[in-house]
Amino acid sequence: MLHEQREALDEMIQKIRSGRLTRRSFLQRAAVVGLSSSAAVSLLEACGGNSNSQGGNGASTSIIWQSEQDTTGTYKSIVDTFNNTIGKQKGIHVTWDQGPAETDTMLAKYNTMFRARQATYDVVSVDIVYPAQFASQGWISSISDTDWPQSERAKYLPGPIQGCTYQGKLWATPYRLDLGLLYYRTDLISTPPTTFDQLVSMSKSVSPSKVANGYVWQGSQYEGLVCDFVEVLYGYNGTILDPNDATKVTVNSPEALQALTEMVSWVGTISPSAVTTYQEDQSLGTWKEGNSAFMRNWPYAYAICNDPTQSKIPHKFDVTSLPYGGSGTAGHSALGGWNLAVNAYSRKQDQSKEFMVYMLSNSAQMAGILGASWTVTLSSVYNDPQVQAKQPFFKKLGPILANAKPRPVSPKYSDVSDVIQRNVYGALKKQMSPTQALSSMASQLTTLVS
């Protein structure tokens, strides 16, 4: 939705309230603006009127939310439920707007909106790495104790909340999360590896004799490479920034050197050398054709690989936690995930926050996990028998979730990410040694974060 479309919608609501627009032309205009007919009717019923006017029925406040891309229709149904229940009681109507497929496109869209200080969207879905960056610009509103009480927060998974916290305040509410998983082929590998050494030796024992590649992951120079790198790094007990002091860079350490050396050694051996061009979809493409023994990917791949129309390996694989190595004792997944934040330029702060809190409620969380198999953030839903019966996959995620860690939190995350990407990629391409890559990464990060 463009800013002009939003302005047109707000103007139409104004007009129908003052009786200057008929229902019919309201619906016609809403269609021109790009609303689906059901969304337009719902908006009209909820917002198109006051006690005196003839046009619509309700006098609710209209707010607009842009989510990340959702092709399952789950967000739409959650919004419908909200509008018919709590929204109706409290006088709030939410219009849901589909988001673009790529995170980078979405970031560019938000950058443009916030830089122009526009309130095209009252509520926005943001990737876990951006709350700090947006907050430092004053683009999103902080969430106070009265908005969402501390006692409530304890019921949710801690990792995502940590990722949305910046300078002691919470800036976004975590709706669902993503985490890195190790997929392995049960027909080739009997017991999954727990360490990186085992991963390498198992890969070599089956590839290329039984399967073309050993391990596929994401080695292209983009955001995904940061996730893959921190997972190996955390597995070796390394860190990028000091967890207690985010202005101290700790990446130039022996642990990090072990981790990066390990990753570099995979390229062209257990992984195809083209892995440095892989994003999620390329890894998935290779894996679901049955051309690899292991894959690192997000949970979304699980359902696709079990679908015989899309995959050659349905029910021939399983997931486990990522391996560890060196002085590490457990594998750690990188957390991704989608969080709701309120546009600081919106004049409907209270209503927006009301909806945000609704998305944390049991009913919205259950709708997400049952409707779209999303790993939502309310811990209790994973013990729900209905969930466990429908998606046995979630049983396996419990311990992995407990060990998941966010990427470094920084108000300049885009730049931090860019530095990590460039140097890790340079090492993977053997343009520089792991030692050089880490020392240049450390010095570039130091100028950024201190």
């Binding site: 980078d104 120079q221 195809p272 061009t277 300049k412 995350y413 460039r422």
Partner: protein
């Protein structure tokens, strides 16, 4: 020709002030004034404004600070930008050269009369009709390491090791971009050159024939010299397009092998707010490159422009 030169040597060219006085009226200048104003508003002003933005530390905050050329220095020092300049220059020189040679060949072929000539002329334009970003995505599938046909052929010929892809290295990305660009833009070049060929009078060839000239001699002595001006215009178009190349590198190189324009885009829109001004600086640098190219070509075309 000779008469013209004689005239101009006899009369000393008038200075603009003399001309203004000689005409005794401001009317002609008034008549071109709206055009000049329009150019000022839609071309000169945005250009100067971009330059102004690029000299501030952060134009998106309330009180930006003037930092002079600091953003330019920052961008020029960035090894990724230096790489992008090199990528773009190599791409420009090689792609324009290949497209001109192939385009000239095709134009000479379809200049002859043969059955179905109109159909062929229309058909060769098909690749050019695709939006570049769409053709880049199509070629991306062909360069894919597991399923791509080009990767398959290159691996069969042992030009690529097993498991690798052309897009895995910087030189590979440039080659991939070149192949796609030559495929896409040669028809455009051929059409421009064809237009030039059509206006060469047939009598010249007939006369040359009578004098016993071989086809090769005719080509070098008649076709090429008379094709000089259309070729220069075509080269100017293509060089300007090539130096601003965006889509191909955006798709094939992404963040690892950017062109100057895709580097600017990444800084402008995929970075933090502090990256905005350096991004504008990078964009201005792309513009300066284009300006230099235009000036070089315009100075080469000066004679032609005078005749107009």
């Amino acid at each position: 020709m000779s008469v013209q030169t004689l005239d101009s040597t006899e009369q000393k060219p008038l200075s603009w002030w003399q001309r203004l006085r000689a005409n005794g009226t401001l009317l002609p200048y008034l008549l071109v004034l709206p055009t000049l104003l329009l150019i000022l508003v839609i071309a000169i002003y945005p250009m100067l404004d971009s330059f102004w933005i690029s000299t501030q530390d952060n134009p998106l905050i309330a009180q930006p600070v003037f930092v002079g050329l600091a953003n330019y220095i920052q961008v020029l020092k960035d090894p990724q930008f230096q790489g992008s300049v090199l990528n773009t220059l190599i791409f420009t020189v090689v792609s324009v050269f290949l497209e001109t040679v192939c385009g000239l060949g095709i134009a000479l072929l379809i200049n002859k009369t043969f059955p179905g000539r109109g159909l062929v002329r229309a058909a060769i334009l098909v690749p050019w009709a695709f939006p570049t970003v769409v053709s880049a995505q199509m070629w991306l599938l062909m360069y894919n390491d597991q399923t791509g046909i080009i990767t398959y052929i290159l691996q069969l010929l042992h030009l690529l090791p097993h498991g690798a892809t052309l897009l895995g290295s910087s030189s590979g990305v440039i080659i991939a971009a070149l192949v796609t660009d030559v495929w896409k833009t040669t028809p455009f070049m051929a059409l421009l050159i064809l237009a030039g060929l059509q206006v060469i009078p047939n009598e010249l060839y007939e006369a040359a024939d009578v004098d016993g000239s071989t086809p090769v001699q005719s080509f070098w002595r008649i076709t090429l010299p008379l094709l000089r001006d259309p070729l220069l215009i075509a080269l100017l178009f293509r060089s300007l397009d090539a130096i601003r190349v965006f889509d191909l590198f955006y798709i094939f190189g992404a963040r690892s092998v950017p062109s100057m324009a895709s580097y600017a885009d990444l800084r402008l829109f995929a970075g933090t707010t502090a990256d905005f001004a350096p991004g504008v600086a990078a964009a201005v640098i792309v513009f300066l490159f284009a300006l230099v190219i235009s000036l070089v070509f315009i100075s080469m075309m000066r004679n032609m422009l005078r005749q107009i």
